[in-house]
Amino acid sequence: MIYIVIGFLWLSICLYIILGGADFGAGIVELFTNKKARHKTKEIMYESIAPVWEANHMWLIIAIVILFVGFPEIYTTMSTYLHIPLVLMLLGIIARGTAFTFRHYDAVKDNWQVLYTQIFYYASLLTPFFLGLIAAATVSHSINPDATGFLDLYIFSWLNWFGVSVGLFTVALCAYLASIFSLRETRDKADLVLMIRKSKQTMIFVVITGVLVFFTAYISDIPLLMWIFSKPLGIMAIAFATIALLLILRAMNRQKLLPVRALAGFQMVMILVAATYQHNPDIILLGNGQHLSLLTHMAPPKTIAALGWALMLGSLFILPFLFYLMASFSKQRK
């Protein structure tokens, strides 16, 4: 049963990055679009996320609930030592979610829209940045419960170059996902050309920040290269992600849009596999040499069993309903 729970945890993180990430990316892409094309971009982005955006963010809640029910020590370690970045990420989630709703549902469209939009943009940037930073902190041995002093315990546990670069990489991934995701929402050739150009720009950003991650890992003595390239699965994941990238480029050049979404989603899965598989089942590598593992730091078996059943039962209700929602709206648009 524990593997089912871990599977759901991984799946919800994965879906949050893909779907929630595309959501955040929508804001980021809009922010980095020049004024002339911004309105167009906004429309396209909005079309692609509006009906499902509430649901996309549920995946984070699911992941958090799985953590605190199934792996309480991991949850409490993170929330104690990563208190500050978690609060900042939370701020981003709140500001973004509400600004998005407000900008859409406000009955009167006036200058307030400018404010909502600004909040929406910067919160879209802030949230994935801290999400990446937090993820980086869990594996970079920077959380040290044996440390003394406020700075070492609560600041340097997350503030370091590797964390910042993973944060930027996450931002880049979100923007990339959003631009790829929106390709199929375009109405005419001009829109499509615009969005293809955007996708290529974000792709370059992904590659640059990706290199930055390896570089900062190297200078921070984090054996990232060894983690990824020492096991066949890691190498395969990276290879698949690269092939997917080439296929996406090719499909885009031919303006064949059907496979690009699936390929981009697949790419994210592969990146996540490469990033998490190596130290599996450890999830937090602490600065004092201890590791918190999904298998040894789990809740008692009865809790895990109940959680596993709740998740399976829940997905039985949720998944068909969610797919129907997504399918019916993408059909409606055509």
Partner: protein
């Protein structure tokens, strides 16, 4: 401000706000679905406009409730890691089910808001109704988790260890049903009165009278179910508290001495030091009767409990009094309305009746907040009643006061912008939602 107080203040504030957002989010969909059902039955376009107007409110409040709920799921760990480390696996079951309910709600809201003229009309109606059902379910599940803190079950606490964990038993603890029932009823009451009050104001101002009268009647219907259900469910809740947490009951009533035939205390100023209450109205034997259906039953007083286990008496007592006071007023308003409805139809359009509802707009929420204060403050100094003290659960991180200021600012600005937005929705009623109004814009028919 020390870290412990700051953490408690932040939690109280977050819950206080979240309760408002989530209660509206739980009940508004039912009002909306009811108006929608009326539209489908009567084909009266006003009901359709009303459904749309309310659905925008639901969307805005759902989003706010969702983010404040997300904040809470983080805050549990950020502020109380000592608690979550042990409690998570025990009381987490309702939270994992709540995730499902909430997810369904989010999907259903997507179907409903974007589904006008796209789906079979009854499927569309059902989605709106489902928003309410799943919202209600998630509310009940979260209350079940809170109830576990009042009535810990499903584990054995041996030498500081939490053994033999059974999450199902923990979920169905003794307090879950009375608490969830009272909470649900109170949510209907509070939201019903609040919505009715807003529409009453607009009728008084003579704006879109037919539209707002229809809205007002539906809202009052829900409010009355809540107002009359509250004392019944409250009685069940009080009996359950008396049995499980006699010290909380004693604090609610500022009941210091153990006695038989205990009096029900109304008002008064409790003096914790001297252990007495001054200037109170006492109704003999009623407290004994209320908690055990026996006028001469013994009710334990605070002095029979260790001094360091007393909850803050004054806060608990005043909060309880406030809840009862507003509860009684709402029942009286309800009785007057029903009397008018059955025997004096002409009263229904009278300004004084509408003004009464206008004044009562916040009453339900005041009572609701007071009720939660009783539940939460009355549990202190325990976070898990009788097992873990709140002070042992707080985060080791210093500087929580800044976090408290920060979250206060967030909640205040969220609330202000929410009020601002809802006002603007109301202002737009003639243009967007009332098809009988001369300003009604045909272009908006489809939005």
């Amino acid at each position: 401000m020390d870290d412990f107080i700051a953490a408690r203040a932040q939690m109280a504030l977050s819950l206080g706000f979240h309760i408002i957002f989530s209660c509206v989010g739980m009940v508004m969909p039912f009002l909306m679905a009811f108006a929608h059902w009326k539209y489908l039955k009567t084909n009266n376009e006003i009901y359709k406009g009303l459904t749309k107007a309310w659905s925008k409110g639901v969307a805005i409040l759902f989003a706010t409730g969702a983010v404040s709920g997300t904040m809470l799921s983080f805050e549990l760990g950020l502020l109380w890691p000592g608690f979550m480390k042990h409690a998570g696996p025990i009381f987490g079951m309702p939270f994992s089910l709540e995730g499902t309910a909430f997810f369904i709600e989010a999907i259903a809201i997507g179907f409903f808001l974007y589904g006008w003229e796209r789906f079979n009309k009854w499927f569309h109606w059902f989605c709106g109704f489902l928003v309410g059902v799943s919202g209600l379910a998630s509310g009940i599940l979260v209350v079940a988790a809170n109830a576990w803190m009042n009535s810990p079950a499903g584990f054995d606490y041996i030498n500081g260890q939490y053994m033999n964990i059974d999450p199902i038993k923990a979920m169905f603890n003794d307090a879950w049903f009375p608490q969830a029932l009272h909470m649900t009823v109170a949510a209907f009451c509070a939201t019903g009165f609040a919505v009715a009050g807003v529409h009453a104001l607009l009728i008084i101002k003579k704006r879109n009278i037919e539209f707002h009268t229809k809205a007002f009647r539906i809202a009052v219907g829900f409010a009355l179910i809540g107002a009359f259900g509250a004392p019944l469910s409250g009685d069940i809740a009080a009996k359950s508290v008396a049995e499980r947490q006699p010290i909380k009951l004693a604090a609610m009533e500022a009941h210091f001495e153990t006695e038989k035939g205990a009096a029900f205390v109304i008002g008064g100023i409790p003096d914790e030091e001297k252990g007495e209450i001054k200037y109170a109205v006492k109704i003999p034997k009623v407290l004994s009767f209320l908690v055990s259906n026996d006028f001469n039953a013994e009710v334990k007083g605070l002095k029979d409990f260790p001094r360091d286990e007393w909850p803050p008496i004054a806060v608990t007592h005043y909060a309880f009094q406030i809840m009862i006071f507003f509860g009684v007023i709402m029942i009286c308003i309800g009785i007057v309305y029903l009397y008018a409805f059955f025997f004096r139809k002409e009263w229904l359009s009278k300004n004084w009746l509408l003004k009464t509802f206008l004044i009562a707009t916040p009453f339900g929420y005041i009572a609701l907040e007071a009720g939660w204060t009783v539940t939460e403050v009355g549990r202190q100094p325990w976070i898990i009643y009788g097992v873990m003290r709140t002070i042992d659960a707080v985060t080791p991180m210093p500087g929580i006061q800044y976090s408290f200021y920060f979250f206060t600012a967030i909640f205040i600005s969220l609330s202000l912008i929410l009020i601002f937005l809802l006002r603007r929705q109301i202002q737009m009623v003639p243009k967007l939602y009332d098809p009988t109004d001369s300003q009604f814009n045909d272009k908006n028919k489809k939005s």
